[in-house]
Symmetry: C2
Subunit: 343 residues, 2 copies
């Protein structure tokens, strides 16, 4: 009797907000060893990563990546265990990081150029961290902070979605570099966590200040010397308020604009401030900077292994929970890195 | 009988649009040699430079420079001749570039740190060019193009206010570097000049397309391969349209936002494109980059002297014409570098 692989496909494109109807659960058999081709590896996924960028891929619009094909398994980062291998570099029992997608098992053509499958060492680092602080979100934080913001000790760095997988790393790295670090997060629990657990100097609760002027006032109080570096994960009202607090020669790393994923207009109110304050505003996508991966993951891995870099996870159970968990992530219902546990 | 110096003061701050009432003409006596202190030089101005940045200085708002003090002579670049000197480096007859302001004569404390007074060589370069292509506007163009946009041959570079003192240099420099160069200018005469005289590949007349969609369509036709570099002198509708045409990894040098000087809101419609297309958007002010001046002016001066860099001037006559000429500049009535001839 063959094992069943549960998979989630992109069934349709969202009109405005994404919904569970955009996804479809299907089943397929898991292949046996003699059904694998040379170079193929069968991986059983332990964790699936859910990330905001996936929402952008669901749209059929010009973006940095091709739109996700309809009727195919939702793409996504995964960690798991090699069960079967016809590739000389992998043996059953290896723990691996890959892009296995929203499914319980994946057959990976490990020889094909561009297909990612890396062995990971879980001696000192938990497996799930390779999807978070020591994975793509962590490297994203590292890149935007060190390559774009390039903060100097004593400067003020602000990060939105501060309790999230990326934001939490940005703040802790900046703090370790001697900066004053201010987070923006939604709700008192997240703000407390960011300050008390992660060691940020302050955190502004945007949900407590839905009016733009009130939010600006709270941000101003938290940044008495202005803002030198901003790591953007959100866009909208928060970006506008931050722009008004930027110091001369400030740097803004544009990593995410989650506020605009549903297609609503999200203008920047005062772009002339880019000139007035001689700002540098730069968008980036970490997957285009693989050259920094070794340096970044060495730093991040060491900090996680030694307890210097803390993180928190929201873990949904079972592949069927992925769509709801993903929609919750887009609304900020997660607290820390959003994962789906599959085993 | 002493000589009279006619001066124009900033009399009041504009409420919205600037008007002639914001300026005041006054007279003062020109000092004699024994009235000069040690280190002072008396310069008779031949030309006064009028530049858009002056409008920003008239406001009492936070900007990159202190607001211009009320009741003092309007600041501005000038070229002229040394009449009297109590400074060992200057003798009567020297032609000099300085920041003499809106007046016919200036007493310059040439020893005081931060006060600019440079001898200029008019053998092969016309005196007025030191206020234009070989002066601050030229270096502004050089800096934004070479330090921010950094164009590669074959890329498409767009510049707004293309027939102006800065834009005309941006386009000609980019063209000399092998780029496809597209200007944006107001009216058929300016567009023809930009293409026929300055050698741009195309020019889009924004006055012929007041509707944003029509302007976008015209810009799209002129940039079939998208835009890799944009030199911004204007802001508003033009910036929004350009943003939609930017290629991945495009660079935008934010030099001027003349459309917003009167205080009207000027939002950027789609800042998420900075992320989607991994753009670098950077504001700059040339006076903060004096280190490039020697290299830039050597290139620009050589190109002007050899006829490779063409320019055009709008020349108003007499100090009393300065306010009207300045207000016209803000509305795009000038054609090329706006000067006031004082002698």
């Amino acid at each position: 009797m063959s094992i069943i692989n549960h998979q989630i496909l992109l069934a349709s494109r969202p009109q405005g907000e994404a919904s569970v109807d955009n996804f479809k659960l299907v089943e397929s058999p898991v292949p046996t060893l003699d059904q694998l081709a040379d170079g193929q590896v069968l991986v059983r996924h332990h964790y699936l990563s859910l990330d905001p960028y996936m929402r952008g891929r669901m749209n059929d619009s010009k973006s940095y990546a091709e739109p996700h094909a309809l009727g195919t398994v939702m793409m996504g980062g995964t960690v798991g265990e090699v069960l079967l291998s016809k590739h000389p570099k992998f043996v059953p029992g290896d723990m691996v990081l890959g892009m296995g997608g929203w499914q319980e098992y994946a057959v990976v053509d490990a020889n094909v150029r561009g297909v990612m499958l890396h062995k990971v060492d879980t001696t000192h680092i938990p497996l799930s961290a390779y999807l978070g602080s020591v994975g793509m979100p962590g490297v994203t934080a590292w890149y935007g902070l060190n390559k774009i913001i390039q903060p100097k000790a004593g400067e003020t760095v602000v990060v939105s979605a501060a309790s999230g997988a990326v934001g939490s790393v940005v703040g802790q790295l900046a703090k370790a570099q001697g900066c004053r670090v201010v987070g923006v997060a939604g709700g008192p629990d997240k703000c407390r966590y960011v300050v008390d657990e992660l060691g940020f100097d302050a955190c502004v609760d945007y949900k407590a200040h839905p009016d733009p002027r009130a939010f600006y006032k709270a941000l101003k109080e938290a940044t008495p010397e202005g803002i030198d570096g901003y790591f953007e994960n959100v866009g909208g009202m928060i970006l506008d308020a931050v722009m008004l607090r930027m110091n001369a020669f400030g740097r803004m790393a544009m990593c995410g604009m989650i506020a605009g994923y549903n297609g609503e207009p999200m203008p920047l109110q005062n772009p002339a401030l880019i000139l007035v304050n001689r700002l540098k505003v730069e968008g980036f996508i970490v997957s285009e900077h693989t050259e920094v991966w070794p340096e970044a993951t060495l730093t991040l891995g060491t900090m996680v292994a030694t307890g210097q870099l803390k993180f928190r996870e929201s873990v949904a159970q079972g592949i069927k929970s992925a769509p709801e968990a993903f929609l919750g992530l887009l609304k900020g219902h997660n607290f820390g890195k959003q994962l789906v546990k599959l085993i």
